[in-house]
């Protein structure tokens, strides 16, 4: 299995060792509110942190990003469009009912039902049928080959509940009264929307009993309050901290930074002036002081991005070394205002122009980056107006194509480069290709990679697509993000990696040795 790249991986103070003794109850702060536990309903990043403790998927993802057995002990792919999962036996839901194939089918059908408007619907959009082909066997057929599909059966795309439960509680799942039902390592015992969730370990879980018996996740949206809570000992740790927030935390906690595979990029609409002019895009790329942004705005807690796809996203497709080598060949546009001016002079907009860039209020670091960019663009004659809008408005704006210059801010849920490459670089993905990037070679490479079951060949095709796009600059990748986990000095989180929070992360909490 590929190890996380050294600079994208954990940079904690101590090794992830811990004593194997039971831990009573811990409280962790989460940085914003959760008002529904159902990830299909409220598709925030934080819901996953909670839901993956209580619910499982067919396959699981190791902290390093490797696909491993989950509720399916094995899976095979008889042909390019068929997946057969053999389910684990003897598993029970936390309400005591046994886990069977019908539950899997019901869970997937729930997501696919357009009436439910599930946020996960995209993951099963290419599925033509889901059938229980035995009491403990499920067969999924796709309408077209999709080599990355297996990732959609990991917690990022599917969390399984019981058929009976789903039928009885349609539309109410994840609320205070109707908690999540799953087979996971923990059982949710209490949920107060926008306040906290309580969980306790599930004695009937099929895995090893976790050391941490009970935990409480508190939602503390205010950064200052969060820090005071840590300093005053009201919480034992905090998850999902923004990189720029952690400066005050060092004295109170151990802070671990891990690449979270997320990417922040600028998307140029290549179908619209002035962004259809590659010189303009290059001028902007040269004017973006990405090193400075990472250093200044993110306090060094991020990595300057060479491409849209973070290196960890290649998972077990391609060894880290080869990913880096491939990325190294992408034309790099270093910070160079003179070069930027020269590019702009070559363009059809030599006298400069005015553009607008919106960022979501939940991403202040994006705003700061935009301001930094505006500052240097001003020097080459481009006026960039920066505007803050709500996350809601920003999300709504993304697909509409009204803004020719946009931020792309993406948190992947899988460990496959296609998750980003397919929607954003393939011209056939009309809803998501916000750059309207349409290069035949790239389209072809992506299409054939989709059907290719050979890992190496597929990796090659994807790399071609990513590299070509890197040179063409429909997106200017700014940085690959990191997330910070702060834990009090007497506990540790084993194996903190870029995929640490895709699975039941709390099972890896230990008392510090």
């Amino acid at each position: 299995a590929p190890q996380p790249a050294s600079d994208g991986g954990a940079t904690g103070h101590r090794g992830a060792q811990g004593a194997d003794v039971p831990v009573g109850e811990l409280t962790f702060a989460l940085p914003s509110s959760v008002s529904s536990l159902d990830v299909g309903r409220e598709s925030g990043v934080l819901n996953y942190l909670v839901a993956t403790l209580a619910q499982e998927s067919l396959v699981s993802v190791s902290p390093a990003g490797k696909l491993e057995p989950g509720l399916a002990t094995a899976w095979r792919q008889p042909d390019a469009t068929t997946y057969v999962f053999t389910l684990r036996r003897g598993v029970v839901f936390t309400d005591g009912s046994p886990f069977t194939a019908a539950d899997v089918v019901a869970s997937i059908d729930e997501i696919r039902d357009p009436k439910n408007g599930s946020a996960l619907a995209y993951a099963f959009a290419g599925v033509s049928s889901v059938k229980a082909t035995g009491s403990h066997e499920v067969t999924i057929r796709l309408s077209a080959p999709d080599a990355a599909f297996i990732w959609n059966t990991s917690p990022g795309g599917l969390l399984i509940s019981s058929e009976k439960f789903l039928a009885a509680n349609r539309g109410k799942v994840g609320t205070e009264k109707t908690l999540l039902l799953g087979t996971g390592a923990y059982r949710i015992t209490e949920f107060a929307a926008d306040s906290h969730v309580r969980l306790e370990s599930n004695p009937h879980w099929w895995g090893a009993r976790p050391a941490l018996r009970k935990l409480k996740l508190s939602f503390v949206p205010d950064a200052g309050t969060r820090l005071v809570a840590m300093k005053s000992g009201a919480v034992d740790g905090a998850l999902g901290l923004a990189a720029d927030e952690t400066s005050g935390w060092a004295s109170a906690a151990d802070v671990t930074y891990t690449g979270d595979r997320s990417v922040v990029a600028l998307a140029f609409d290549t179908a619209k002036a002035p962004w259809n002019d590659p010189h303009v895009r290059r001028a902007v790329a040269h004017a973006a002081d990405r090193e400075g942004m990472v250093k200044g705005i993110l306090h060094g807690r991020a990595e300057v991005a060479d491409a849209l796809v973070a290196p960890e996203m290649w998972g077990d497709l391609l060894p880290a070394g080869q990913v880096r080598a491939g990325y190294a060949k992408i034309t790099s546009y270093g910070f160079d205002l003179a070069a930027a001016r020269a590019e702009l002079a070559k363009s059809a907009h030599a006298d400069g122009f005015t553009a607008e860039l919106h960022y979501p209020s939940s991403g202040p670091q994006l705003g700061k980056a935009a301001l930094a960019l505006a500052d240097s663009l001003k020097k080459i004659g481009i006026t960039l107006r920066v505007k803050e809008i709500t996350l809601e408005a920003w999300v709504a704006e993304l697909g509409t194509g009204k803004q020719p210059l946009q931020f792309l801010w993406y948190f992947p849920v899988t460990g496959d480069p296609a998750e980003l490459a397919d929607p954003y670089l393939n011209a056939s993905a009309t809803a998501t290709d916000i750059a309207h990037y349409d290069v035949t070679a790239v389209n072809k490479a992506l299409d054939s990679a989709k059907a290719d079951t050979d890992k190496a060949r597929r990796a090659g095709k994807l790399m071609t697509a990513v590299r070509t796009a890197g040179d063409d600059l429909p997106y200017l990748p700014l940085w690959w993000g990191q997330t910070a986990t702060a834990l009090s000095k007497d506990i540790v989180l084993q194996q903190p990696g870029p995929f640490a929070f895709v699975g039941p992360w709390a099972t890896r909490i230990r008392k510090a040795a």
Binding site: A193, S218, E392
Partner: protein, 326 residues
């Protein structure tokens, strides 16, 4: 004191006026949410899942694409049956969601109001009695600073002092159970009360000073009515109506303050619910909550209005015309 019954006409006019006010407000809120740009369906589906079919399904489910009047009537019909719809974001019934938050915010506002009343009114009386002296100036200055400090900044300072330095009170969260809840709500309530206390202080001080200067107070002194009785029965009674009106008005301040205070202290109350619902454009929730808050404020106003004739006989209908001296 024998209290005549409340004038019926007065009560009816006030209650009728309140109902009209609420109706206009509900239309306004409803219109506002429809006019505003953005699309809750998209937010709901997130970045990845916004396929046209899914969008259409969501819109149909929440009646997002029917005409305005139809939407409003549908909603109003629901409201009259005590059905406020379901939250787009959580799928839970709006009434239950609001109901679930009500207790905490109610306690917060109640405690805040209690703090404000207990500090502001006696403070106002004290400063009025000691007017233009050192105590008065000191208290007034403190009030001025309290009034001028944004709630979130005040909250941060209090957290820093009392949670981090002195460790007297917890920094965040609602706590569990009566005593613990109270312990958790002390700092938020004080934060919430800061500016309102200052407002009540100012108001009470002005009202008491105005009353103290009244002829009837001088006359009461001049005929030997004991000082204490003058203060309680004459001065304070006279100041009651303006202070009461002020208390009715500060309810609005308090409710507005909860937004910031709940944010700072991570309290899951109506204020933070509103912020979240606004961010996600959870139309049914925002609508119901806005209306709910407006109703509270309007009711507070109504109560103070109706209380006035009870306190002030001049506002009651005269039993007989002015008699003539005989």
């Amino acid at each position: 004191m024998n209290r005549g019954p409340l004038p019926l006409r007065y009560v009816l006019t006030r209650v009728g006026g309140t109902l009209v006010l609420l109706f206009v407000l509900s239309v306004a809120v409803f219109a506002l949410l429809r006019i505003a740009p953005g699309d809750p369906a998209r937010t709901l589906l997130g970045q990845r899942g916004a396929t046209p079919q899914a969008l259409a399904a969501v819109r149909a489910r929440y009646h997002l694409d029917s005409p305005f009047a139809a939407q409003y009537l549908h909603w109003l019909g629901g409201v009259l049956h005590l059905d406020l719809g379901t939250s787009i974001r959580t799928g839970a019934p709006v009434s239950a969601t609001i109901g679930g938050r009500l207790a905490l915010t109610g306690q917060l506002v109640g405690l805040g109001l209690a703090v404000a009343l207990l500090l502001g009114i006696p403070g106002g009386i004290l400063t009025a009695l000691r007017r233009y002296r050192a105590t008065d100036r000191a208290v007034q200055t403190a009030g001025l600073v309290a009034l001028s400090t944004p709630a979130f900044a005040g909250g941060l300072v209090l957290i820093y002092l009392f949670s981090l330095m002195l460790r007297w009170f917890p920094a965040y969260g609602p706590g569990q159970g009566g005593g613990d809840r109270l312990h958790h709500l002390v700092l938020p309530a004080v934060t919430l009360a800061l500016s309102v206390t200052a407002v009540l202080l100012k108001l009470t001080r002005a009202a008491v000073i105005r009353e103290l200067a009244k002829e009837h107070v001088v006359f009461a002194r001049a005929r030997g009515v004991p000082e204490r009785r003058i203060l309680v029965d004459y001065v304070l009674r006279g100041a009651l109506v303006p202070v009461l009106t002020g208390v009715g008005l500060v309810v609005a301040y308090l409710l507005a303050g909860t937004v910031l205070v709940e944010q700072v202290f991570a309290l899951p109350g109506l204020g933070s619910l509103l912020v979240e619902s606004v961010t996600y454009r959870d139309v049914p929730l925002v609508q119901a909550e806005a209306l709910f808050i407006a109703t509270l404020v309007v009711l507070a106003g109504l109560v103070t209005d109706l209380a006035q004739p009870l306190i002030d006989p001049r506002l009651r209908p005269a039993r007989t015309g002015k008699g003539n001296a005989r």
